[in-house]
């Protein structure tokens, strides 16, 4: 486990191999439920890319390959009264929260049973207290408003916002952090720091660090650079409790690795950079560390997702009644 609360710049560049030790360390054994969710997301994302390459999907999508463990670690700490604001890379968030690959795939394919009737598509989803949208940074001030509501009307509940490292370019993030800290609202910002924004490496789009940006506002910050669900959850638990009980914002920075393309095949990173990300992939590591449990679960989820694809793919087009 590797948790620090003040951090230097996260090094995602393909230098030497100082992370060899990290990658070598075995991942802890997960419950079948957690492993199942991780693998469901993985196979879901692979299926989405496959559907695209078959020309069976319209538009665009952003898969969370490599980052699946973040919502899997976090969401058991939330209850259904908590709000979650997701972003463009949100399939894993949705699936970890609702375990509903049918509704999501139908949404992406525009088929009957789609969670938003095919209107929102991959990056605009709203269900219960879960909402995603496609304009980066926009949801942070919205979460502050929700946080004001929760603090006054439903104390003990929180709003979680997922953003990427690149989203720290947007002024809205700072306007929101300032208000969140001034008004002490229970907003937990989860930064999925995968070292890149679309094609631009972090060091070319972010000066300073996520840690210093949180400190700028006096907002607490925790950096987590493990991909082990057990460790990540343990590190998150006290933070979630603080946000819940003390109604204050917090920034958690998960150092993570984008294993796939930004959207659908637009990965211009050098081969060694991609290979470096792949070495960190929990999927590869878990297979190595727990081969028997992995193999069974992996096959089960692969088949389950394949069935979802078949079933949803056969449905009629969605209908939008409420327009």
């Amino acid at each position: 486990m590797n948790v620090t609360s003040a951090s230097p710049a996260v090094d995602h560049r393909p230098t030497g191999e100082p992370e060899a030790g990290v990658v070598a360390r075995p991942l802890s054994r997960l419950s079948d439920a957690d492993l199942g969710t991780l693998l469901m997301i993985r196979h879901f994302e692979l299926a989405v890319l496959e559907l695209f390459s078959q020309g069976r999907l319209h538009g665009t999508t952003h898969t969370c390959l490599g980052q699946e463990y973040i919502p899997v670690a976090l969401y058991p700490l939330l209850d259904e009264g908590d709000y979650v604001f997701s972003n463009h890379r949100g399939h894993g968030h949705y699936l970890a929260r609702f375990h509903d690959p049918h509704g999501l795939l139908a949404e992406i394919m525009g088929r009957a049973g789609a969670v938003c009737h095919g209107v929102g598509g991959s990056q605009h989803i709203y269900r219960d207290r879960y909402l995603s949208t496609g304009v980066q940074g926009q949801s942070l001030p919205v979460a502050v408003g929700v946080g004001l509501h929760l603090k006054r009307a439903e104390p003990g509940r929180i709003a979680v916002v997922h953003i990427g490292d690149g989203t720290w370019g947007e002024g809205a993030v700072y306007e929101a952090l300032n208000m969140a800290q001034l008004w002490q609202v229970p907003v937990l910002v989860v930064v999925e720091h995968n070292g890149i924004a679309q094609s631009t490496p972090t060091e070319r789009q972010m000066s300073g660090t996520v840690a210093t940006r949180a400190a700028a506002f006096g907002v607490g910050h925790l950096r987590i650079d493990s991909v082990d669900v057990t460790d990540v959850r343990a590190a998150l638990a006290p933070v979630v409790e603080q946000v819940r009980d003390r109604h204050r914002p917090y920034v958690v920075e998960c150092v993570t690795h984008r294993v796939g393309p930004h959207s659908k095949g637009d990965d211009t990173r050098a081969a060694e950079v991609r290979e470096r990300a792949a070495r960190h992939d929990w999927y590869r590591r878990y297979r190595r560390d727990h081969p028997a449990q992995f193999a069974a679960a992996d096959q089960a989820q692969a088949e389950a997702v394949a069935a979802v694809v078949r079933e949803v793919g056969a449905r009629p087009a969605s209908r939008w009644e409420a327009r």
């Binding site: 209107v119 929102g120 909402l131 926009q138 919205v142 929700v146 809205a172 306007e175 300032n178």
Partner: protein, 337 residues
């Protein structure tokens, strides 16, 4: 007779009412808290009464529009004040791409009770970045409605209707109006009377009694009332041109069908507005009216706007750029020939 209420007071008591009546109502804006009570004093007394729901914010126009949307999303009613409507440009993304879109883009209706208040317009010498009339830039956004304060329309009723709509709305408030009195009892002045039409638009109709069908119908948003009435007066007294003035409360969506009985009483129609021309409310109305009254109109709808210019600061320069009673008078007179 009691002193007539000023428009700023009317707005203030409307906000007092809204915050008192509904415990999930919030007001957020820069310097709205007491004792300052807002740059135009419209929010006086509110934070003293409702300290946890009336918040002076940092200078973050985009941010507070988002906060208002978040409050609405979680079932509250939010009123967000832009100190000057010019700064609503900083909130354009939140309004267009989040607040308005959220109502429909998730495939089912998501109620969003939210009003953005925008002190608007010139004639006060505040200069190019503090004097604009930006209504036109917010037109035609699905699920975003626009209203404008007028001296005829009680703001408690206006704001309540906006919030009850459960869609985000923008309320434009002409800054000059703040110090003017609300009209009451059907009287505008010695010459003109008004009535509020019974159709759902609750449009105010200003007319000189006993004049018969008018030569012109003039449509104007609330902020132009005073300048329009001045022009109506001089046109009547000096040119014997009779005009009736229609002042709607809601600018958008605007359905002129309900007004057709009134509009068809004249064969000439003029639309006033404070913005520069092009891409405007006046053109929107003109298009509707051309479609509906094509064969009855003696000439195309006459839209009158400010000069195509930024709003300069010095009083004499500003006066020449903005729409004035004399410009209205002259344009209508010439178009009557």
């Amino acid at each position: 007779m009691t002193r007539r209420q000023r428009v700023a007071e009317n707005l203030n008591s409307a906000l007092h009412h809204l915050l008192g009546a509904h415990p999930g109502t919030y007001l957020i804006g820069e310097d709205v808290a007491d004792p300052y009570g807002g740059a135009f004093k419209v929010t006086r007394g509110l934070s003293d009464r409702f300290p946890d729901r009336v918040l002076s914010s940092p200078l973050s126009e985009g941010g507070i529009a988002g906060v208002g949307a978040g409050l609405a999303l979680s079932g509250n009613r939010s009123v967000v004040e832009m100190m000057f409507s010019d700064f609503a440009a900083l909130a354009f993304d939140q309004l267009l791409n989040f607040a308005a879109k959220s109502v429909s883009m998730y495939g089912r209706r998501v109620p969003m009770s939210m009003v953005v208040r925008c002190p608007t317009g010139g004639n006060r010498g505040y200069g190019p970045t503090h004097s604009q009339s930006l209504q036109k830039h917010f037109l035609g956004i699905p699920s975003l409605h626009l209203r404008e304060v007028s001296p005829f329309h009680d703001n408690q009723r206006v704001l309540t209707a906006m919030l009850d709509r459960e869609e985000p709305g923008v309320l434009f408030e002409d800054k000059v109006l703040y110090t003017r009195a609300m009209y009451q009892d059907g009287v505008v002045d010695d010459l003109f009377r008004y009535e509020v039409l019974a159709d759902p638009s609750e449009t105010a109709r200003v007319f000189a009694p006993d004049c018969g069908p008018p030569d012109w119908i003039v449509l104007a948003p609330g902020g132009l009332t005073e300048r329009a009435v001045t022009a109506l007066r001089t046109l009547l007294l000096e040119e014997e041109i009779t005009c009736e003035l229609l002042v709607p409360s809601q600018l958008y969506p605007f359905d002129s069908k309900a007004l057709l009985p009134v509009l068809s009483r004249a064969d000439r129609i003029c639309v006033l507005e404070d913005s520069t021309a092009d891409g405007t409310w006046g053109e929107l109305l003109a298009q509707q009216l051309h479609e509906q009254l094509w064969s009855r109109l003696a000439r195309p709808v006459l839209p009158l706007s400010a000069e195509p210019s930024i709003v300069p600061t010095a009083a004499h320069l500003e006066h020449d750029v903005l729409l004035q009673p004399s410009t209205i008078h002259r344009a209508i007179m010439e178009a009557t020939k």
